[in-house]
Symmetry: C2
DNA sequence: GTTATATATGAACATATGCTCATATGTTAA
DNA sequence: TTAACATATGAGCATATGTTCATATATAAC
């Protein structure tokens, strides 16, 4: 006889755990922002852009050559990363040099790499 | 006159940067695994599951109640998280209690939260 | 002005993804 | 064995996402 008989009709087996999770839960708006942050990293093209920019700034053309994808595709992804404040750019003539805004993304990527390598 | 005239016909403006990025680049298989890791966190349901499990183990039924989604949806997402070795479970009678495998995910989520809050 | 370069952007399209629903599996009680 | 409970899983469907293509914008050279 197991001790799972304290379930209620709505099938919540451990109400105190559910309540605890609810109390500790982040606000929906924060959840959304964290999800968007991870979405930015959850794509091969964007992750490679971010890892490449850890070495220093690069222009769209450089990134397209490195990634072996079209400049249009790179530009679309850079816009997304810009909107999420992960990268920024500076203009030098017609060329836009992109760089990481800070090292948060790098640190997160480093932890992730550590995880998958262990 | 700007100094961006060193481009070649294949439109690689800074070949040394592209080569540098290539040398530092991770293996494609590692990129894929890191992307999959971030994909796991890049969904509201899964992220909330992970954050909830930081408080302690919960069964499918608990999680469904907390998340206010169907148990089937939770089960599908837990399978994905299991396959990525982010969560594991123990059986007690018919009930499966899920928990985080280690604290890597929590640390990554913590950093992400720090980032979006700054 | 015109032309070329570098990048941005909108629309369209194909694929990926997350949910639902139905059904299957595994465990326990009667 | 039969029934009930807890969870898992496959198929189908609607939405999300990433790329391509065409076009627009911005800067510089002429």
């Amino acid at each position: 006889m197991a001790d799972y008989a304290d379930r209620c009709q709505c099938r919540i087996i451990h109400e105190e755990r559910v309540d605890g999770a609810r109390r500790q839960a982040l606000a929906p708006s924060e959840i959304d922002r964290v999800v968007d942050f991870f979405k930015a990293l959850a794509d091969t093209t964007r992750l490679r852009i971010i890892l490449a920019l850890e070495q220093g700034e690069m222009c769209v053309c450089d990134l397209a050559a490195f990634l072996a994808v079209s400049e249009s595709a790179v530009s679309h992804q850079l816009r997304l990363l810009r909107q999420l404040q992960l990268v920024t750019n500076r203009r030098q003539g017609p060329v836009l040099y992109y760089r990481l805004v800070d090292d948060h993304v790098s640190r997160v990527a480093g932890l992730a790499l550590e995880h998958i390598r262990e």
